[in-house]
């Protein structure tokens, strides 16, 4: 069974450009999560999508946005890139047993390394 897949593996952009990162969850998983892992800062929660809707959002500016498609894959868009956006962006998926889900373990992809020059 395929795990969580993310593309591209590496992405190099210049300041002010836009970046689009993609994630395909494990088959049968309906929830997708995005995390930013900047050097020395651990994992910072970005976004959580479930059944096509945004369920929660971390403390990031609006230029970080995303969506979830009907097949549960997801896209993270970062507009007006800044140097400090350089980080590893991790996507994770989990099963969803309803909107009051809690305690589900997350399955992670290998990430997209975004470098902003």
């Amino acid at each position: 069974e395929a795990g969580v897949t993310q593309s591209p593996t590496h992405l190099i952009k210049t300041r002010g450009q836009q970046a689009t990162l993609r994630c395909s969850p494990i088959s049968g998983h309906t929830s997708v999560y995005w995390y930013q892992q900047a050097l020395g800062l651990g994992l910072q929660f970005l976004l959580w999508y479930d059944e096509g809707e945004e369920r929660n959002r971390g403390n990031f500016p609006p230029r970080f946005s995303g969506r979830q498609f009907p097949n549960y894959s997801s896209e993270l868009n970062v507009n007006a890139l800044e140097l400090e956006d350089s980080a590893l962006y991790l996507c994770a998926s989990s099963l969803d047993r309803g909107h009051t889900i809690s305690g589900e373990k997350l399955f992670f992809g290998s990430g997209t390394q975004l470098s902003v020059l």
Binding site: S31, G42, L43, F45, W48, R55, S102, F108
Partner: protein
Amino acid sequence: AQKVTQAQTEISVVEKEDVTLDCVYETRDTTYYLFWYKQPPSGELVFLIRRNSFDEQNEISGRYSWNFQKSTSSFNFTITASQVVDSAVYFCALTPDNNNDMRFGAGTRLTVKP
């Protein structure tokens, strides 16, 4: 608000030593879940354990053991007889009641030297 603190940024040990990774958490919920994940150099986080707040039994899995103490809001992870392959970044995480909004600590980088 949920918060997870891993005070140890980096730990270095020699193979076969025991090592404990600390995790302290804050939450107002009475029901919550705690996790440990391992991130090897490949980058993909690997699930190690999940504990709910009502289950304070300690758990042992091979060389790994976990000590959950609600009284001190801690969920520490011990590796016995460490091996070079244990070298990785280890993350402690928390999800609150009623949603799966998982929040991570800053991680502890463990280096096991031969």
